[in-house]
């Protein structure tokens, strides 16, 4: 474990995204901390406070996991360190399903 102050957190070990707890800038490293987890991830884009970043490459249709549960699927391929939000993932529930 590093002594460096973390700026993003991993909520559940099953998660494939992390949450920024500071406003993070492109070219900066996200220092992600969780229980028994530590990783430094170079960022591709700015990640605002409270928003999500990808911990691994997420292929299109890959389930996005937060709190250890599915919160939606990727609409496109998402790079590691990329900003994850409603422009590139979508929820499954509570709307008319496309047939």
């Amino acid at each position: 474990m590093s002594d460096k102050k973390h700026n993003a957190i991993l909520i559940d070990p099953k998660d494939n995204i992390a949450v920024a707890i500071e406003n993070l800038k492109k070219d900066q490293k996200a220092i992600v901390k969780g229980v028994d987890y530590y990783e430094e991830i170079p960022l591709v884009q700015d990640i605002p406070f409270g928003h999500k970043l990808a911990l691994t490459v997420l292929q299109e249709n890959k389930e996005i996991i937060k709190y250890g549960e599915v919160i939606g699927v990727a609409m496109q391929n998402i790079e590691k360190g990329e900003y994850v939000h409603d422009h590139n993932i979508k929820g499954i529930r509570g709307k008319r399903q496309a047939n």
């Binding site: 949450v19 939606g72 939000h85 409603d86 979508k90 929820g91 529930r93 509570g94």
Partner: protein, 382 residues
């Protein structure tokens, strides 16, 4: 655990001792306001309901909510103001509230002969009621008598990490003392219902949870809503999907088993964690839980909100230090210290629990200091 509250004739326990002036119909709003404004220690509400022949289910819900609201243990006495020709008969509502044994009066504008007479009669009646209320003293009550309404609004993605889990700790502590909590806003359980169903005390309750969530989802879809199209503030706060919001939301309910599922504004019949089927609107949801008997409301927020309740204290818990810094006038507790690494979920949970006890003893919340009292009854679409 003991706190000092007001004991009511029906054995319920209040944390406040308000005189509530309640219009039974939109037409009586200003009359109710004029009565409330002249009486020290009175609160009044206004709303848009009560007039014509609503759909049957809608009428029942509005009537139930009004009676429940007046019956809330924080209400020491109630004046129901009606016009005289409305569906929501003021005398019927007053009679419903009077079943609690507390002083209740109905003033009907058309019967009394106009608003000025109605105001005068209302103030005179209120004067007598308040003299009685002011003589009541707080007495030792058990914390198990408390129902804690769990609410969130203006959520951001921090809510699920800091404020909501901390509130969950506080809720579990209260339930450990024999008290109850109500988790509401069914549309914000969508995507997390399987987790709540697992915690149900029996299959019947589990099925009810799945049923109300399914119903809310279908209803939304039928209306052409896209639930994943979150409020702009939610999206700016980093929430991407309704599942994400829900998974964060349910943390408010802690880890306790779910004892019961209630329809809008019904009174719990069991102690412990209860789920009430309410819409995903803060004020409509709070109104229903208060009508169900909740005496204190915990309100977690990421973006910040001023919402208050006329008869029950609202404890605001903020998910992040940035908003807390900006909106201290409205927020009581900063759970952002969890994100800042300065405190743990457990510690803030303890702090919220202590605040619940203090507020129940009489400490005023920010919304109370401002005198805020939002009130809104949800009218079902069918």
């Amino acid at each position: 655990m003991i706190f000092n509250g007001f004991k009511r004739p029906d054995q319920s326990v209040g944390v406040r001792n308000h005189l509530l002036v309640l219009p039974s119909v939109v037409c009586a709003n200003d009359t109710a306001r004029l009565i409330g404004q002249q009486l020290q220690g009175a609160v009044y509400v206004t709303h848009e309901h009560g007039c014509g022949a609503h759909y049957h289910s809608s009428s029942d819900q509005i009537r139930r909510t009004m009676i429940g609201y007046g019956s809330n243990p924080n209400v020491g006495a109630c004046i129901v103001v009606g016009l005289g020709c409305e569906t929501m008969d003021a005398e019927e509502i007053a009679a419903g509230i009077a079943k609690t044994g507390k002083p209740v009066a109905a003033i009907v504008i058309q019967k009394v002969g106009g608003t000025i007479k109605a105001v005068s009669q209302g103030v005179q009646t209120g004067q007598k009621m308040l003299a009685e209320l002011s003589a009541q003293k707080r007495q030792e009550c058990d914390l198990s008598e408390l129902i804690f309404a769990l609410e969130c609004g203006g959520s951001d993605s921090n809510s699920g990490i800091s404020a909501n889990p901390a509130l969950g700790v506080a809720s579990d502590l209260l339930i450990g003392e024999g008290g109850s909590s109500i988790l509401s806003e069914t549309s914000e359980i969508v995507g997390a219902e399987h987790l709540m169903a697992k915690r149900a005390v029996n299959k019947e309750v589990a099925d009810q949870i799945l049923e109300i969530v399914h119903r809310a989802e279908q209803e939304g879809v039928k209306q052409g809503l896209d639930m994943s199209n979150l409020a702009p503030g939610n999206r700016e706060g980093g929430l991407s999907t309704v599942e994400e919001k829900s998974l964060g939301n349910i943390h408010k309910g802690g880890t306790s088993p779910v004892q019961e599922v209630l329809e809008y504004a019904f009174k719990p019949s069991r102690k412990g964690l209860i789920i009430m089927d309410t819409p995903g609107y803060d004020v409509e949801s709070i109104t229903a839980m208060v009508a169900g008997g909740a005496q204190v409301i915990a309100f977690t927020t990421g973006r910040g909100t001023p919402v208050g309740c006329p008869v029950a204290p609202v404890i605001k818990i903020c998910s992040n230090s940035d908003t807390y810094g900006k909106m201290q006038d409205n927020i009581d507790i900063n759970a952002g210290v969890i994100i800042d690494g300065l405190s743990t979920v457990q510690e803030v949970g303890q702090q919220i629990f202590q605040e619940l006890v203090d507020v129940s003893n009489g400490k005023l919340t920010k919304a109370e200091q401002l005198g805020f009292g939002d009130f809104s009854i949800y009218r079902p679409l069918t």
